[in-house]
Symmetry: C2
């Protein structure tokens, strides 16, 4: 480990102090999206299309408007016509016209559950009664759910203004193929032709949901002069401000967005659905409006991760060195462009060195909800295929699967996806740690199999703003623009307290609203601890500089003669080395030594590095029922530097649990009518605590040399390996390779029977 700071030097980094927002959350005091309320607030409800594909010939809202208690009714026509793109999150639509039409259908309803009208009324009951009075004149159109259907020659077209992007030639006709993305390095065809071993396969994954507990909710209040406020739970209130203001043609400063607590996001709250609808209703009604989704709405009308079909061919030499790879995959984006295709392509082989690669990704539009980011968006699908293929190669070579990966692991200095040299990726270190882990050598029982898989996530840095200010008693307020999803209040407090040299409990962290702080990119990309943490460090350093100046003036010394350590200014000037002032003492004197001490830093943080992981999974497959039990699971991951150890560990466990659900149980099920058949947590089967063993974790620390504390992103990588790890474990337990997720009992039984 080449730590930029010796671990010994840390006082708080790497510990696990109590979460400052924990008590508030477990006692029900925290205000989440649906909890926020205002005097005079109206209740909104949304009418949703019962058809997966239908032209909207007209909407008659008169009866609804006449219902006593109804204060506003709106349709897609209330959205202004806007053009251009908005800087999006990790995935999802960027075209403003598409975002507006996803928030509320205009010319056509494009999926079952697509919003077509909305009502604001004095009670939720009245609002829902009013929905039943809205008459929509639909011309029902044929729909497509699967990629093959969408690409059939006579397939109905979702959009007549979407042309395939990324082709050599500009297409002449609109298409349900909205994008092609290609990575092409070396000569993969020749390499595969000369390879000792070539393994190929057709893999598939289904759309899966992020499964956050809290449904989307927003309160909006439009002012008579065109200014407005929104209170909502999201992964980025600056994103909410920018997208909503752009959709409605507002100045950004005229829209104040206040973040509420977020009950899980996992990428699914990087897009907006309700905010502009609530705001337009509020403008019509002249009163604040709250809209909250039901669980069914969340499933039917917010973005899952895209399902994908992946053709893969990998070749190695006789010793297992990867010589060539060709992949082609199709991600189903849902009703609007934005299906993680470029990310799927970039991440597929990012953790391996391979000089001859061609990856072709296609984005297909189908009549299902527009997809959104889901934790390491795009990576799990393609990495699943790669890791299964590698497992098969290891079996063919009779090689330990970790050794095969160690041989091919991408290392610092290797060329990355686009040929640029990689930084300290830490994958080999994880593979070594996995080999050394007792789990890997533990004996297996009957019908059990052990699978391993690797993967990584690029992580991100980007723009963050943070402020640090001293209260009069020397306690410290940190404000950031990053919604706290994974415990960032705790990690930011650790970072600030570590930098300033004061107790953790003396620092309180707030997620500030858009009017009180400069912009920050949303909480996503595993960027917050890295990038927002860096902004906090920078602001603390500025505070320390000011504290040194104040102390110097007090001691009759120069700032250069002041040393800051252990939360105090020590004078090093000759004859004054007994002079000392603590942060609290300097804060108490701040007013009369120059004024309050408060700094705000906006920074675009470069130097992010991927975090790599290896998962070890033991499954037991019931040969009679096809049921799979995960009996042991270990996550090994390079976390760069764990700031809050427990929350790092929690990220590793949570990502693994979600990935296991993706592998074993979860899928959107659409019947022939194109309606989602399992729009609820009873039918959409996510793993619960009793489904899983305790997930063991090993945090490898290969510090990021570009960050003062060595931080890398942590939250997304752990969802990447489980699909392959579980499938490999099942394949090894059954002796039959598994290509299609989820590995439900019926499917396994069918696969086993077919193999016999």
């Amino acid at each position: 480990m080449n730590a930029p700071q010796d671990q010994q030097a840390f006082r708080l980094v790497g510990t696990s102090p109590i979460r400052p927002d924990g008590v508030e959350k477990v006692t029900g005091k925290a205000v989440y999206g649906p909890d926020f309320t205002m005097a005079g607030m109206l209740h909104g409800a949304i009418l949703r299309s019962p058809h997966p594909h239908a032209r909207i010939r007209g909407i008659n809202t008169r009866k609804a408007e006449a219902l006593p208690g109804v204060k506003a009714v709106m349709t897609g026509k209330d959205f202004p016509e806007v053009e251009g793109e908005v800087a999006g999150g990790e995935g999802g639509a960027a075209n403003l016209g598409h975002i507006a039409r996803n928030c509320m259908a205009r010319e056509k309803a494009l999926y079952d559950g697509h919003a077509v009208a909305a009502v604001a009324a004095t009670s939720k009951l009245i609002a829902e009664q009013a929905l039943a009075l809205i008459e929509v004149d639909y011309e029902v159109l044929p729909h497509v759910i699967e990629a093959a259907e969408a690409l059939a020659p006579d397939a109905p077209l979702l959009h007549d203004d979407v042309f395939t992007k990324g082709l050599e030639e500009t297409p002449e006709r609109p298409s349900n193929l909205s994008m092609r993305f290609v990575i092409d390095r070396g000569d993969p065809d020749a390499a595969l032709a000369g390879a000792a071993i070539v393994v190929s396969g057709s893999y598939s994954t289904q759309p899966v949901h992020q499964g956050y507990i809290e449904p989307h909710a927003a309160v909006a209040s439009w002012n008579g002069d065109g200014q407005a406020q929104i209170w909502s739970s999201s992964q980025g209130h600056f994103m909410v401000r920018q997208t909503t203001a752009n959709l409605l043609g507002m100045n950004l400063a005229d829209l104040r967005v206040t973040p509420l607590e977020i009950g899980g996001g996992f990428g699914g709250k990087t897009a907006i659905y309700l905010e502009p609808v609530a705001l337009l209703l509020s403008r019509k009604a002249g009163r604040p409006v709250r809209i909250a989704m039901r669980r069914e709405d969340v499933f039917r009308a917010t973005g899952p991760a895209p399902g994908s079909e992946i053709e893969i061919k990998l070749g190695t030499d006789a010793e297992g060195t990867l010589v060539g790879a060709v992949m082609e995959f199709r991600n189903r984006a849902g009703a609007f462009p934005g299906g993680d295709v470029s990310l799927s392509a970039m991440m597929a082989l990012a953790h391996y060195r391979c000089d001859n690669v061609r990856i072709t990704g296609w984005e297909v539009l189908v009549n299902t909800p527009s997809t959104a980011a889901y934790r390491a968006p795009g990576a799990p699908q393609t990495v699943f295929a790669v890791e299964c293929c590698l497992d098969e190669i290891a079996q063919r070579l009779g090689m330990d699967p970790l050794d095969l990966r160690l041989k091919n692991a991408a290392r610092a200095g290797d060329p990355g996806v686009f040929g640029m040299p990689l930084g300290e990726v830490g994958y080999a270190e994880c593979l070594e740690a996995a080999k050394a882990h007792p789990h890997y050598s533990a004996p297996l029982g009957p019908n059990q199999g052990r699978g391993i898989a690797g993967g990584n996530w690029m992580n991100y840095g980007g723009p963050s703003t943070a402020s640090v200010s001293l209260a009069e008693d020397g306690t410290v307020l940190v404000a950031t623009g990053s919604p706290d999803i994974g415990g960032s209040r705790a990690s930011m407090a650790i970072i600030a307290a570590e930098t300033l040299g004061i107790p953790y409990e003396n620092v309180r962290v707030t997620v500030a609203d858009t009017a009180s702080l400069g912009p920050s990119m949303l909480t996503g990309g595993s960027r917050v601890t890295f990038a927002t943490g860096k902004a906090v460090i920078d602001a603390c350093e500025q505070v320390i500089e000011t504290l040194k100046q104040r102390a110097a003036a007090m001691f009759g010394a120069t700032p250069q003669e002041i040393e800051w350590r252990d939360g105090a200014a020590f004078c090093t000037a000759e004859g004054k080395s007994d002079q000392k002032a603590t942060l609290a003492e300097l804060a108490a004197k701040a007013d009369h030594s120059g004024g309050p001490i408060a700094k705000m830093v906006g920074t675009f943080v470069p130097g992010h590095l991927p975090g790599s992981g290896v998962h070890i999974c033991d499954t037991e497959v019931d040969p009679e029922t096809g049921n799979v039990s995960v009996v042991r699971y270990t996550v090994v991951q390079d976390v760069g530097r764990a700031i809050h150890a427990d929350y790092c560990e929690g990220q590793l466990q949570g990502g693994a649990a979600q990935g296991i659900g993706w592998a074993l149980n979860e899928a959107y099920v659409f019947g022939p009518s194109g309606k989602m058949d399992n729009a609820g947590f009873l039918d959409y089967r996510m793993p619960v605590a009793s489904d899983l063993p305790m997930i063991d974790t090993v945090m490898v620390e290969v510090p990021n040399p570009n960050h003062p504390f060595g931080v890398k992103g942590v939250g997304e990588t752990p969802i990447v390996p489980p699909l392959g790890a579980v499938a490999n474990a099942v394949s090894r337990a059954t002796g039959v390779r598994m290509y299609d997720l989820p590995l439900t009992p019926d499917r396994i039984r069918a696969t086993l029977q077919a193999a016999q």
Copy 2:
């Protein structure tokens, strides 16, 4: 006018753009103290003492606690014992034990309406029913309302731990005289002995209320881990944080205070009453609690301005030059120390040059509500006596009263109250402007008289924090910690837009909560436009520096080669003088040119200067009824530099209106039982629009050389002269000098009859 910047150079300063919070306020959307609501919130109610002075032998809350729906009952014993002082506002108590006991009585109830217990329940009705079930065992004690009663040898003592401060010798016994404050310069006795003219008199004023429209209200939520939040309307949420946290022994960072809109303060919301009570109830109940006062509570239990009795003797030479002054006054502080005595003494003669002065102020404790700041706290009372005395001198000398004042006006360089040279006080300029005003030479009708009076307020600077951040579209967010009472969102937006060179509408100003910004002193002392405005300018200048750096990097120039004007960076480097980038262009590129642009500045702003004023008042006195009509009124004031012209004018008009009410109508009336007899706006007679003529204003601008825009404080000075101006006008209309306020018809009739 020695403007630091030529008025011509200003684009926005001095204009009157639309108030950014105006529509919100006139349409009822703005959230004031009593409007704020939360899910699960309880309703608080306070039991108040029916006795002006009583020992509390015990409080039995069991029956109240047993009432269904009651979730918490508290008494003064729930407050922790705390010691020490808190930095107060402009006036009012600073001793923590006193503040706690004013919020809720402990050993004794000290005035009619003093809080003795509080209840939180699921409805306001239940809370009020529960109050009736609380049994308080009072030992009723004799009470004192007037100073003479409080100082009688056998007077009941309010506190046995209050000893007179400011005496030469440490007093041995506790006293109702809580403070003496003396100003002593030159040899006033000798000067008066040698004066050509000596005029003396005994003047009195009554306690008067600030008369804000919105009653006090607070919502508090105590968290299980000791952190807490408060939402309240006040003149300073950082003051609320500091005082409440100190009262309850909390770290400041653990208490987040979010300011709500304030419906008037005028000094009366520089103290806290409800916040710690709501917070302790919330701690007991485990749920958020709202308490809102009724109007009666506001009158009975919040602080009015102290009533005062003033003995004065002024002497001049034969030409009217002031040679000596001796004053002694007693301010009635109410139940706890803090009665503006030092301010009354300092302001009495601050607008005149007089080298031989002795002013002795006494603070007297009586069984009435603890007084609080009221617009220029302490000044109106003593200046009233001075200005009446000067009027009498002018009459004796047969001199024009403005000329007399011009002869004696304090000017830049003269010694101030404590002998320090004065800055650009602008009083003479106001007197000249008054002389030149058509009002001053207009003819008077029968039974009419014209009074003039001057006065000033020291104003203040002090600590303020402000942040300025750029949204991605180049609109600008300014956050300050100064609650907007008099239109400061508009003036801060003007200041920022002027500094940055962008349109007014592109700047939005927020009053940020205590977690999102460094500390600011409260909105008071006429300090916000001056001091917070300076912090905004400083933050804008830092933003401009950063914009220049970004532009320089873009142009391939140095920051020194960039000129910022008209909201854009212009390159002055050779051969690149055509290069230009607007703020919006630079903001759009901020992320990738170094990150979001956002700056926070905390500063202690020195260089404040007093603002002087002269008022001209014409009254008509009905000889039969004694009723006084103000028939014409003109305010002339040195505003330094008007930032928002209309709101400056509004301050001048509002201060005059309040001063006229103080002079003519307003007074706390206590019956023999010691209860306030007029605790409501029907009986406490403030002037309404139909009582007053349109108040004319003349804004003289003698810019403050210590401020970039020349700003002085504006808001408090205009309440200082009216008491004298009205009394002088009535005296001149009737030919009889008036010594006692308010000049109610019955009192005038009695005075006139006695004089006949």
